[in-house]
Amino acid sequence: MRYTPHTPAEITAMLEAIGVESVAALVAHVPAELRARAGLTTLPAGLDERAMRTELAELAARNRTDAVAFLGAGAYPHFIPAAVEQLAGRAEFATAYTPYQPEVSQGTLQASFEFQSAIAALLGMEVANAGMYDGATATAEAVLMSQRLKPGRPLVLVARALHPQYREVIATYLEGIANVELVEVPFGTDGATVLPAPDLLARASCLVLGYPNFFGVVEDLTRAADAVHAEDCLLVSATAETLALPLLKTPGAAGVDIAVAEGQSLGLSLAYGGPGLGLFTSRERFVRNLPGRLVGETVDVNGRRGYVLTLATREQHIRRERATSNICTNQGLCAVQVVVYLSLLGRHGLAAVAERNLRGAHLLAERLRGVGSLRFSGPYFNEFVLTLPDARRRWQHALASGIVAGLPLGDAYPDLEDALLVCATELHDEAAMDRLVAALGAEASAPPARAGAR
C-alpha cells in the first residue's frame, strides 16, 4: 500500500509477537454489527501519484486564477517572494507539532517567539500570542476576552463598518453566552464609524472597529480610544488588511486595548480564503486573559537561552472548561511563514510595499473618477468604495471580459446597492487598471438598465 510499509512477512512476525492470528482479530472486540456496516463502499479506488496529480491538475484548471480581480474585502492578493514558502515549508517546520518537548522543538519555538515579537512591533502593542485561526475568530475571541475583563457589561458594540463576516462570527460565538447583547454602530458619510454615545459605552464591555474598516476607510482610533476609555470600556481594533499598518498609526500608539488582525496579507497565499492567520495582541497586563498559545524565553540547565510554551494555565489542556479559549491546534506554520515574510521584507521593504499599495489604489481611484465616484470621503489605503449607476450590471459586464471589478456591496449592505468595493495592490499594474476602467466605463454612456443579473 502507498504509505504503509509492512511486507506480509513483517505482518506475520508482528502478529506472532502480539499473539494473535490475524489483523482482523485485533478489532474482533468491536461490536460485530458495527464492523459489518463499516466498509467504505462509496469511496473510489486509490490512484498512484501520477494519476492523482493528473486529476488534481484538471481540477485546478477549472479555477480561473489567470484573470484580473480587484478583490480585497478581507483577502488580499500580494506578491510572496519565493523564499517565504520555501523556508517556512521546510519539512522540519511543516511536520513537527505543537512543541511539547521544547528541547527538540527550538526551531518552531524561536520562530514563534520572533513572530510574537514582530507582530507586537507591527501592531505597536505590548504582547502578541502565537496566533489564532483567522482574523474573524481572533476578533470574536477579543470580544470574549473583553467580556472576561469587563464581566458586568451587558453590551458589545460592533461597528457596522467592520467586515460583515467578522460581525457574523462574533454573533455566532456570542450566541448562548448569557446576557450579552450585540449592538451595531453606524457609519457616517466619511465611511468612518460614528462614535457611540457615552451611555452606550458605559454599558458595553468593548467597542470593535475595523482598521482600516470594511470600506477601506482608516478609522480614527485615537479619538475612539479616548471616548471609549472615558467610560471604562475597552477598544478592540480588527485589521483585515494588515499590510496597511506600516503606514498607519499603530493600534498601540492610538490606545487600543486589544488589537487583532488577519495575517494573510503577510506572505500567505489566498488559497480560496484559508489557511490564514489570526493575529492577537493586547496590553501586557491582560496577558493572563489572552486566548491561545504563548511562547516565552527561558534558560536551560546550562544557562543557555531557549524558548518554551508558557502561561499554559490559561489553556484548555490544563484549565479545561475554565480555559480562556478552547483553541488547541492553531495556525503554527502560517505564523512561521508570516515571520519569514516580515523578516525578508523587513522594516524598509514593508514600508515600500505598503506605499506601493497606497499609491496604486489612489491612482486607480483617480482614473475611475469618470466612471463613478468615491462613496466615502475618509482616508483609505488600498481599497475604496466606488458608487456608480447600475453597478451590478456593469460589474457583470466587466466579468464577461475577464475582470472582477471588486465586490458588489448590495448583499451585505442593501443601502450600498450601487456600490463596489474595489481593491488594488502591488499586483495590479497600470495596464490592469486601464482594463478595469475600460470595462466599467464602456457602458458609462449606455442607458442604465433596471434589474441587472445577480
Binding site: 450566541e175 488559497a271 518554551v308 521584507l345
Partner: protein, 500 residues
C-alpha cells in the same frame, strides 16, 4: 569569541534572534513604491493617522540572513519527516510531499475567496467530493468544511447542539464528558454556555451504560464521547449509551480525533452519533505545521443538518455554488470557507489511498500500536489491560520506584533520537505515557523505539541520574519552564522603545 563547543554542537549551528541580526538600514526584498503614479502617503493620510515609529522593532536583514536564519532554526526541530514522533492522540503519520506540491499549484493557491462561484468550480468540486468522502467515513449525511481545527469543529458542533435544543424551546445547560476526554471537549462545551459533568469510566477504562444513565437528565444537552477513547480503547457500549442519551432527549457528540482507528472498522453514524468533528491533520495526513494549520470539518446526522454553518455548498446546475439560504443555521464560525489549502491536501490523501488504502491505514495503525503494546507490556505497566486499537497508554507506576518519572523517560527518549509520546494525558492515568506510532512506521523503527524504551527503563534502575538529567544530547538541555511562567518574557524588545 566563545569556546567553540558551546557555539557548535555536532553540526548544529547556533543562531541568535532575527532581530539581533539586524543592521540599521539593511533590507532584503523590497519594491519601488513609485513604479506607479499616485500620491505619497503623506499626501492622502492625515498626520494624526500616520505611523510615526518607522516600523522600529522589525528586522533589518538581508535575504541571505533570512535564509540562513530559518534554515538553521529548522534544523533544531525533530519532526515526523526526520524521526518517529509517537505523540499519542496526535496521529503523526507521514505527510506525503506530493500533497504539498498540489496545494501550491497556482490554480488552488492563488484563488481569491470572493471570485464568482463560476470561477472557482475546481475548488468547489474538490470540496464537494471531499465532503462525500467524509460522509462515507463517518456514516453521517451532513458536512461542513468550515472549521479550522478539531477544537473549532467541536465548538461548531456544540453550537449546533445548542441551536437544536434552543429550537425546541430550551438550550438545556449541562454536557456530560468522560474524565479521560481531551481538554478541548469541556472548553468547547463551556464556550457554548454549558456546564460540564465529568463521567468516570470503569476499571477497564470503558464507559458503563449505568454510569451515564445516572447523570443523564432533561437538563443534559449532549454527551461528548471520544471513540476509541483517549486510552485507545473502543467504547463497546457506545450503541446502548447512544440510545440512553437519545432517550433523554440529548445528543451524542463524537470527538473524531481518533478516526484513524475506525476506517473500515466502525462508523460513528452507526454508533448513534449526531455530530462529530474530523481532524484532517490527524487522520488525513495534512502536516501538523508545528501546531497547525489543521482542518476540523464537522459531520452531522439529519437531525442537525439544518443548523450547519453557512454558507453551505449546494448544487448549482452542473456545478456548485454557495448558499446562505438556511434560516436555522448557526451562521459563520470563521471567515470564508475553511482552511481550504488543507482540504486540498486531505483530498489528495484520500484520493490516493481510496477505499482499500484507507481501510489498510486503520488496520496497520492498529497493528503497529498493538505490536508496541505487546513488546513493551513487559517493560512498563499498561494503564489498562483492556484491548486497545491505534494507541496504547502506559503508566509510570512502577518506574516511579526508581525515582524516575514519566517526564524523565520522555526527555531521555529525545537523547535516543525520538520525539516523546504524549505524557500526563489522559489525566485519569497517573504519569500517563501515551504512544501512537501510526501506520506509516516500519517494523524496524518500532523495534528501535522499543529498544530505546527498554534501555531507558534499565537505565532508570541502574543509573537513574542519567535519565533524570536528560536530555543530554539535544541542542539545548532541559529548559526551565517555571522561570518562563514566573517572569514571562514574551517578545524581544528593540533597545530603544518603538512606540513612545
Amino acid at each position: 569569541m566563545t569556546a567553540p563547543t558551546a557555539v557548535l554542537r555536532a553540526g548544529t549551528l547556533p543562531e541568535p534572534l532575527i532581530f539581533e541580526r539586524s543592521t540599521p538600514g539593511r533590507t532584503g526584498a523590497t519594491c519601488d513604491p513609485t513604479e506607479v503614479g499616485g500620491p505619497a502617503p503623506a499626501d492622502v493620510l492625515p498626520a494624526a493617522l500616520r505611523r510615526e515609529d518607522g516600523l522600529a522593532g522589525l528586522p533589518e536583514v538581508s535575504e541571505l540572513d533570512v535564509v540562513r536564519h530559518f534554515t538553521r532554526l529548522s534544523q533544531w526541530n525533530l519532526s515526523a519527516a526526520t524521526t518517529l514522533y509517537p505523540l499519542g492522540s496526535c496521529t503523526m503519520k507521514y505527510n506525503p510531499i506530493v500533497n504539498e506540491a498540489v496545494a501550491r499549484m497556482p490554480g488552488f493557491a492563488s484563488l481569491h475567496p470572493l471570485v464568482p462561484d463560476a470561477w472557482a468550480q475546481g475548488t468547489l468540486e474538490l470540496m464537494a467530493r471531499l465532503a462525500d468522502f467524509l460522509r462515507a467515513v463517518s456514516g453521517l449525511p451532513g458536512i461542513s468544511l468550515q472549521p479550522a481545527a478539531g477544537a473549532h469543529g467541536e465548538l461548531t458542533g456544540m453550537k449546533m447542539v445548542r441551536a437544536y435544543h434552543t429550537d425546541r424551546g430550551n438550550p438545556r445547560n449541562r454536557v456530560l464528558i468522560p474524565a479521560s476526554a481531551h481538554g478541548t471537549n469541556p472548553a468547547s462545551a463551556a464556550l457554548c454556555g454549558y456546564s460540564v459533568t465529568e463521567i468516570p469510566a470503569n476499571d477497564a477504562g470503558i464507559l458503563e451504560v449505568e454510569t451515564v444513565k445516572k447523570h443523564l437528565g432533561d437538563d443534559v444537552a449532549a454527551m461528548m464521547i471520544t471513540n476509541p477513547n483517549t486510552i485507545g480503547v473502543f467504547e463497546r457500549n457506545i450503541q446502548v449509551i447512544a440510545g440512553a442519551i437519545h432517550e433523554a432527549g440529548a445528543l451524542l457528540y463524537c470527538d473524531g480525533a481518533n478516526m484513524n482507528a475506525l476506517m473500515g472498522v466502525a462508523k460513528p453514524g452507526d454508533m448513534g452519533a449526531d455530530v462529530l468533528q474530523f481532524n484532517l491533520h490527524k487522520t488525513f495526513s495534512t502536516p501538523h505545521g508545528g501546531g497547525g494549520p489543521g482542518a476540523g470539518p464537522v459531520a452531522v446526522s439529519e437531525l442537525l443538518e439544518p443548523y450547519l454553518p453557512t454558507p453551505r455548498l449546494v448544487r448549482d446546475g452542473d456545478g456548485w455554488g454557495w448558499s446562505e439560504d438556511f434560516p436555522k443555521a448557526i451562521g459563520r464560525v470563521r471567515s470564508f470557507h475553511g482552511n481550504v489549502g488543507m482540504l486540498v491536501r486531505a483530498y489528495c490523501y484520500m484520493r490516493t489511498l481510496g477505499a482499500e488504502g484507507l481501510t489498510d491505514v486503520t488496520a496497520m495503525a492498529i497493528l503497529n500500536a498493538s505490536y508496541i503494546r505487546a513488546r513493551l507490556g513487559g517493560v512498563l505497566p499498561l494503564a489498562f489491560e483492556t484491548e486497545s486499537l491505534h494507541e496504547c497508554v502506559f503508566t509510570d507506576r512502577e518506574l516511579e520506584k526508581t525515582g524516575v518519572h514519566t517526564l524523565d523517560l520522555a526527555k531521555r527518549l529525545l537523547d535516543y533520537g525520538f520525539f516523546a509520546p504524549t505524557i500526563y494525558f489522559p489525566l485519569v492515568v497517573p504519569g500517563a505515557i501515551m504512544i501512537e506510532p501510526t501506520e506509516t512506521e516500519s517494523k524496524q523503527t518500532l523495534d528501535e523505539f522499543i529498544a530505546a524504551v527498554t534501555a531507558i527503563v534499565a537505565e532508570a534502575r541502574e543509573t537513574p541520574d542519567v535519565v533524570k538529567e536528560a536530555p543530554h544530547a539535544t541542542f539545548v538541555g532541559r529548559l526551565d519552564e517555571t522561570r518562563a511562567a514566573r517572569r514571562p518574557v514574551l517578545r524581544w524588545k528593540p533597545p530603544a522603545p518603538a512606540n513612545d
